[in-house]
Amino acid sequence: MTEMENQFPIVQVMDGDGHIVDASYHLTESFIKEMYSKMLRARTLDKKSVNLQRQGRIGTYAPFEGQEAAQVGSASALEEGDWMFPTYRDHAATLTFGHSVSTIMLYWKGRVEGCVPPEGKNIFPPAVPIATQLPHATGAALAEKRKGTDRVAIAYFGDGATSEGDFHEGLNFASVFKAPVVFFNQNNGYAISVPIEKQMNSKTIAQKGLAYDMDAIRVDGNDVLAVYFETQKAIEKARNGEGPTLIEAVTWRYGAHTTADDPSKYRNQELSLEKRDKIDPLLRLERYMKKQGFWDDAWKDQVAKECDLEIEQAVEEMENFPEPDVNDLFDHVFKEPTWTIKKQKEAYLSQKRGETV
């Protein structure tokens, strides 16, 4: 282990076998079951989406299987009114924080409606240009601070994202202005095909907080309990005016970067199989629950059935969603369309109506 790996040990509450290694938290059955259900719901969504893509019913999709604990654990620590700035892979987080399943699917169906959160849910559209959302989270957090609320912002981003200038600038601004923001990194080991060893010379992402005198911590990103409690602490600090935190959640993406990617080109997929066995976020919680006597197959079946049902209904909703409206192409560029846009719209629509060629 390097010095930095020692300085930033991976915090666990529960190990891969479901043993509690840090007993300082009070874990109720209902809380545990809630975490499990949320993760199962997310996983069901993810698997369904991969299938929908294969069947050509949605476009390219970015799966998150394996990262449910990181996303669900962190998102569960937020409260209504807080702000979430996700990436294209953080649907378990947005789902947990309030997006509907059909909204998420619409996004991958190429529908702008997939970016619109329900009323009262401060969920920003997924950031596609890598790391651009970090300064946004800083700004939204600063806005809350200026308004005098105790709301916070959380930004999700990957290991690859740490290489972009916007990562650096977002963290520096947050630390200078003591913004109530949590930078939640999911270190899933890869940026498309590039492994973290080629992305950075450092062995941890947490140590990057040192550059800003920013609190940083490394958690086992597949341990939903560690993620939940550490995120909660960081959020609490932010709410109390103690500034930002960088959290590195060490996790693993089981599958492809997106459905357009073939991971066997750049890594041995056996590793993913091993990880499924050893550190799967759901499996290890199941192991814990079994030890605790919280587990009940009937309960699990019931939850799974509900998830399936919800997802199936969402698919239906997505597929019956009104056709895209060509007016939307023109009508949301500015609050009041400029004459240029009006003219283009009119010309296009009239040509479309009278199309004769």
Binding site: W83, V112, E113, C115, V116, P117, N122, F124, P125, V128, P129, T132, L134, P135, H136, A137, T138, G139, A140, A141, L142, A143, E144, R146, K147, A153, G165, D166, E169, G170, N172, F173, V176, D328, H332, V333, F334, K335, T338, W339, T340
Partner: protein, 335 residues
């Protein structure tokens, strides 16, 4: 000019940069949600003194010295803007906006459309631009065209103190992002009457600075005074020139431009930026589309060359001059 009535309003003689400050001060006093962010905008009052005194009046919480990072400034401003504030972000020079280009292109200008208006970015990006003050490299870049081609942002350039304040207030009130370009060479070139308090100059409206029948001369920002000198000279020589100060580069003032060209049939456009890809071509395209049959000569441009803005020892060779504009006017009317 599309401005409010000014009876009984007190006016002050201000330079363009003072008018900019006055515009910010006016709006900052009235609206708590307006913030100013940028490099050296606080204690220092900006490298051109555009934010002079504001930090003392409104405090460090609202006039915010940021770290030296343009993407950070714009990105953070976007976060503030979607969450209830109206940031005025200063780029110290337009030539230093490039590191923020991604934030403006992929977010500031798109957030309304990608969220079907759920979120919006009522932000003003202020930036001094243009040559003629013997500044070091990059400081003189005039890259309005990088923004007129960017869907979702408006581009505004005043040429005088009155318009500067009125357009800036209009930009601050605009519900969408506006790039507000400040012509450096005109910052202290002259003073003129600027009303106290709030007034606006409508975005999207050009000003007709001279009426004439033979040729339409079109300019903006620093080039207005250059064009004006040429127009004065050519008028003496008996050419009847119409002079338009565009004031807004996106969206262009279609009515005014087209009506003028229909009358004159001849066009000379003057800008600092390199000719290829410049906003001059947008103006030409508009005229081609809407007044083609009225043209009596090819449209012509007096523009920067397709070369990087030179080191300042050569800047006077690069920048359009009254004599180059006059030459183009002559060619147009004798075509």
């Amino acid at each position: 000019m599309t401005t409010k009535a000014m009876t009984e309003v007190k006016t002050n003689k201000l330079t363009l940069v003072q008018a900019v400050t006055d515009g910010m001060r006016t709006m900052l006093s009235e609206h708590d949600d307006i913030l100013v962010l940028g490099e050296d905008v606080g204690q220092n009052g900006g490298v051109f003194r555009a934010t002079e005194g504001l930090v003392h009046e409104f405090g460090e919480d609202r006039i915010i010295d940021t770290p030296l990072a343009e993407a950070g400034i714009i990105g953070t401003s976007i976060g503030l803007a979607i969450n209830g504030f109206r940031p005025i972000a200063e780029m110290q020079f337009l030539g230093f906006v490039y590191p923020a280009y991604e934030q403006i292109m992929t977010h500031a200008s798109r957030i309304r459309s990608r969220t079907m208006s759920k979120f919006s970015v009522p932000m003003v990006i202020r930036a001094p631009y243009g040559g003629g003050i013997r500044a070091p490299e990059i400081h003189s870049d005039s890259v309005e065209a990088l923004f007129t081609h960017m869907p979702g942002i408006k581009v505004v350039v005043p040429s005088n103190p009155y318009d500067a304040k009125g357009l800036l207030i209009a930009a601050i009130e605009d519900p969408d992002p506006v790039l507000f370009m400040e012509p450096m060479r005109s910052y202290r070139a002259f003073k003129s009457d600027v009303p106290e308090g709030k007034y606006t100059v409508e975005i999207g409206k050009a000003a007709t600075l001279a009426e004439g029948d033979d040729v339409t001369v079109i300019a903006w920002g620093n080039m207005v005074s250059v064009a004006q000198k040429a127009v004065e000279e050519m008028t003496k020589q008996g050419v009847s020139c119409e002079l338009l100060d565009l004031r807004t580069l996106y969206p262009l003032d279609r009515e005014t431009i087209v009506a003028s060209v229909k009358k004159t049939g001849r066009v000379v456009i003057c800008h600092e930026a390199p000719e290829t890809g410049g906003v001059g071509n947008d103006v030409m395209a508009l005229i081609n589309d809407e007044a083609f049959l009225y043209l009596r000569a090819p449209m012509s441009k007096v523009a920067g060359f397709d070369t990087p803005f030179p080191f300042f020892a050569l800047e006077e060779e690069y920048l359009p001059t009254p004599s180059r504009v006059s030459h183009a006017i002559k060619e147009a009317v004798t075509f």
